[in-house]
């Protein structure tokens, strides 16, 4: 057997490789001693750690929309919050529909979303508490520069949509139950017609991808201004309709009701809500994007109520 082993270096090498990988994982665990639950050895660890978790939860799960992540705003705000509170934020950027569902099921601790009508349902059901207005930006209708449907003269988004439909020009919808999608559907409702047909295409993807698809197909779409500005150099789309009051895109922050589950980090969620409304944070939001785009991506609205926008 001796000679067998010396010949078969392969087995030994594989063994060494596995050990190396395992020890690499192990050593990293040691490095991350401060962070809990980092690695594959976790199941056992978190079983023990479960009781501790009840008292000192380290993480807070923020379910939010892709627009806050894709615009880069959260990359600025999250580290500020983490430094101020010591909590670590797990940002899950999904469509607003999914974010709200996570709140409803108690899978998230705090939400930052932009679909006021759907949010109110959660408030009424007691799924979320402490809902506060944080900021707004606006939606714009974008399309190819030559504007084949001739919507540029329109003041109202619904009139523009009606024209696109009757011209049979391609309109790319998010189709993903996001805040933007909900907004788009409410505009179609105003036109009194169901969008359907070859010209109406649903991407089922985030805003960035949807803008790219619209650009490639020479179609129209509804987008939030922040994502459009971030992508404008890479796509052939122009802002055609903007400025209507109903195109405002209003973001609220809210806590998931801690009574839903004892796993909810209520303290961190409450602190996140007050953090978003703090003067310092609001100033950062108001300044965000000015250096890069020459205009802010979001308007800080801490302390205002939705009624202020109705007028």
């Amino acid at each position: 057997m001796r000679t067998f082993f010396s010949k078969n270096s392969l087995t030994v090498i594989i063994f060494v490789l596995i050990m190396a990988l395992l020890s690499a994982c192990g050593s990293n665990n040691a490095n991350n001693a401060g962070q809990e639950n980092t690695d594959s050895q976790e199941p056992a660890a978190s079983e023990n750690g479960h009781e501790q978790n009840q008292e000192t939860k380290e993480f807070v799960i923020l379910a939010t929309t892709t627009s806050t992540q894709d615009s880069g705003l959260l990359d600025v705000l999250v580290p500020m919050y983490e430094e101020q509170t010591g909590y670590r934020v797990k940002t899950i950027a999904v469509g607003t529909g999914k974010a709200l569902a996570m709140g409803e099921q108690g899978e998230a601790d705090v939400l930052l979303v932009h679909a006021p009508a759907s949010e109110k349902v959660l408030v009424d059901n007691g799924d979320v508490i402490n809902r506060q207005l944080v900021m707004h930006n606006d939606f714009v209708v974008v399309g190819p520069a030559d504007d084949p449907a001739g919507i540029q003269s329109e003041k109202k988004a619904s009139d523009a949509f009606a024209k696109i439909a009757s011209a049979g020009q391609i309109f790319v919808s998010r189709g993903d139950d996001s805040g933007t999608h909900k907004k788009e559907l409410s505009i179609w409702k105003q036109t009194g017609q169901e969008p359907s047909g070859q010209w109406y295409q649903e991407s089922g993807q985030g805003m960035g991808q949807t803008l790219r698809i619209a650009s490639e197909k020479g179609g129209y779409t509804l987008t939030d201004r922040a994502t459009y500005l971030a992508l404008q150099d890479e796509i052939d789309l122009k802002i055609l309709v903007e400025g209507e009051a109903s195109l405002l895109n209003i973001y609220h922050v809210m806590q998931v009701n801690p009574e839903k589950s004892d796993k909810i980090n209520a303290d961190a969620a409450e602190k996140f809500v007050s953090f978003m409304l703090a003067e310092e944070t609001q100033a950062v939001i108001a300044e965000f994007g000015v250096d890069q785009y020459g205009q802010p991506l979001f308007f800080a609205d801490g302390g205002k109520t939705e009624e202020a926008f109705a007028q």
Partner: protein, 232 residues
């Protein structure tokens, strides 16, 4: 074309400028997919050998099930792992959702059938008569096992390569159960999708080149190992 060139330049800038975030993401990717591959090996190799050798009723059905699950769509795995690990799910108490461990679990589920299926195919290829001969020469059960594995080692390495490849290239499950959390569960594939939708196409191209290079280097290492043995 200009954008593609910029992306390639960006890849080298990211690699050589020592951007800590890129290193962190790359290291996490390697660690997560490497761990998943090892778990899949530990489960898949014995299971594959069992399927190759054992004779029991319904064996062919089990083999066909394993062969079907070799092509498991990662998003389906992601969805089920999500449902199980969610706070309201059956394993919610472990609080594993949106952790690197969740990605390891999902990738292990994706890679295990591949390694199992390829292992059983590799072992079945070893001539039955050889096994009988080894036994008749007086080898113990474990010595026989060892010799047969040795005989099938090239195919087994191919199984490792395929399993690792499936784990590292998968995105649907990583996104769903990992959540693409910055500095925590962001891996190369989820970072590529995010940077693309952010409009940072050059960065996305750069990351994808790093991913390809990483996958290539690991596979190259395993292939060299395989071929060195062939020469011997």
């Amino acid at each position: 074309m200009e954008m593609i060139l910029q992306g390639i330049v960006q890849a080298f800038v990211m690699i050589f400028s020592g951007d800590p975030e890129i290193y962190e993401i790359t290291w996490l990717t390697l660690k997560v997919s490497g761990t998943a591959t090892i778990i899949s090996l530990v489960v898949g190799v014995p299971l594959g050998m069992f399927l190759a050798w054992a004779r029991f009723p319904g064996r062919k059905i089990y083999i066909s099930i394993v062969n079907t699950t070799m092509g498991f769509p990662p998003v389906v795995v992601g969805l089920w792992v999500f449902l199980f690990l969610a706070r309201s799910g059956p394993l919610g108490d472990f609080e594993l959702l949106f952790t690197p461990a969740a990605i390891v679990i999902a990738q292990s589920i994706i890679a295990t059938p591949i390694i199992t299926g390829l292992t059983s195919a590799a072992i079945m290829q070893v001539d039955e008569r050889m096994r009988l001969q080894i036994r008749s020469l007086g080898a113990t059960k474990y010595q026989t096992l060892f010799l047969v594995i040795r005989e099938a080692r090239y195919s087994l390495l191919a199984a490792v390569i395929a399993g690792f490849g499936a784990a590292i290239s998968e995105i649907g499950a990583s996104m769903m159960v990992g959540g693409n959390i910055k500095g925590y569960t962001r891996v190369l594939t989820t970072a590529t999708v995010m940077e693309t939708s952010k409009g940072n196409t050059e960065v996305a191209i750069g990351i994808s080149i790093i991913l390809l290079t990483l996958a290539y280097l690991v596979t190259l290492g395993l292939t060299l190992l395989q071929q060195r043995e062939v020469k011997n």
